[in-house]
């Protein structure tokens, strides 16, 4: 019990004193996950609109397939990305394994299904009359899509935040393709894993608290936007 108490006190100290190592790890985590989420968003919004606004055979199946990948194990994505980017793999020549870049790519693969799936359901939740109104006012397909997206913006934002939450909190992928290199690819979750295995709980607890705080701040912000 004592250990936890002391760990907690030390953790608070780490945070309040803006410990350089803690700040660096947190900064890297945020940078990598924000990047992957933004890029995934850029890819997913057009694609989910395409899927939503078109009728084609197998559409339902495609959507269930996307939903299946919501809960794809992070280690499975890690293994896939590792074999892809390992020097013996098809993309080995890119020299990207064990870099932050490949972590971004891995996180994108991980969260794209979530963003796609949730954006599609966000779009389906929009009142059909919006489409009819837009069309009757002479809007093109693209303009209609924009109108619907605007209407669904809060739900889309929630989807993006879900994706970000999954990206920043996963550890399996980050360790496998990032390699947990200190000062280069070590992020909050991999640092927690390593420090705990070293028996240094203070740093782990501090980072754990920060991770929870990040989630809290983001969700509060989302809440505010949604209730405006």
């Amino acid at each position: 019990m004592d250990e936890i108490g002391q760990g907690f006190l030390k953790a608070v100290e780490f945070i309040t004193s803006l410990d350089p190592e803690v700040m660096e790890i947190v900064g890297r985590s945020l940078r990598i996950s924000v990047t992957s989420t933004l890029l995934a968003t850029l890819i997913c919004i057009p694609i989910s609109s395409l899927i939503h606004f078109h009728r084609f055979p197998g559409k339902r199946f495609l959507i269930s397939l996307i939903q299946t990948f919501f809960s794809i194990p992070t280690v499975a994505v890690g293994l896939f990305v590792f074999t892809l980017f390992s020097r013996a793999g098809p993309l080995g020549g890119t020299n990207l394994l064990f870099t932050p870049t490949v972590m971004v790519i891995g996180q994108m693969i991980l969260i794209i299904p979530i963003l796609l799936g949730l954006t599609i359901s966000a779009l389906s939740g929009v009142d059909k009359t919006i489409v009819d109104t837009a069309r009757s006012l002479g809007a093109s397909g693209f303009q209609t899509a924009i109108a619907v997206l605007r209407e669904a913006r809060y739900a889309v934002l929630a989807a993006i935040i879900m994706g970000f939450g999954r990206a920043i909190s996963e550890v399996g992928l980050a360790i496998m393709v990032g390699g947990n290199i200190r000062g280069f690819t070590r992020v909050i979750t991999t640092a927690i894993s390593l420090e705990t295995s070293k028996g240094d709980l203070e740093l782990s607890i501090a980072l754990g608290i920060i991770l929870i705080l990040i989630a809290l701040v983001i969700n509060l912000a989302l809440n505010r936007i949604q209730h405006r």
Binding site: S86, R87, L96, T101, V104, M108, F184, L194, K198
Partner: protein, 289 residues
Amino acid sequence: MKNKVFRSLAIVIALTSLITGMAGCKTSTAAPLPLQERLRVATTTSLYDTGLWGYLKPMFEEKYGAKLDVMYAGTGIALEYGRRGDVNIITIHSKSREDQFVAEGYGVERVPFAYNYFLIVGPESDPAGIKGMIPEDAFKKLMEIGSFISRGDDSGTHSKEKAIWEKADFDYRTVQKAGEWYIETGRGMGPTLLMASEKQAYTLSDIGTFLSYKGKIELTTIVDKGDILLNVYSAIAINPERHPKANIEMASNLIDFLTSPEIQKLIGGYGVEEYGRQLFIPCAGAEPK
């Protein structure tokens, strides 16, 4: 065709993320340097858990103006990274597998740079009564009455453990199935020691990691004598003939660095003040007797 699509996609993604990634970063440590200036070493967990790499890394970086990426991996994983060409150099401790690695053409040369000894550690009360035995006899006794935590991760320590079981006339597969008393953690030396301490069981550990964890665990040295316990650390640069981007020049620099008289002296003195005992005995380039 498919490959091409993949590749161009990956490049686009990579570029975008590099740009966005760098845009928000001010600290110099986080900025990805051009890759040729990074040297990647996969190291056995004991050289990391003892803090030796953390101690040597800045010295090497300053001397050669390169970035050293130290990756925490057991010998088995380190060898696999090496085989795939994902690292430039490995520092590990399992002689027979190192020789094989070099013979197969993956590594340039095996260069021993330090050694120490393995220990069988366990609870103070020594419930199996193996204190003072030679390792082989101790293992025989553990087979009858004992509880043992194994690395189980194909690491150098795990290889050594298997070698002791075999020298004690057990087939390792029967040991693995011998019962609930035999636990494989599949993790590094540090976590395995922590688990052995939690469960008050025996385990095989290198002396360095054991000493650096001493304040955190309730285990004591039970067996520390026996030729089989010798533990030699070597560095092997990845063969550039197999992997053209192996950055052999910087890897050779690292080997020169590790075997230089100045660094050998620092390795020999590392941890003495903190643990009251030598963790590593330097042996620049030569096999210890």
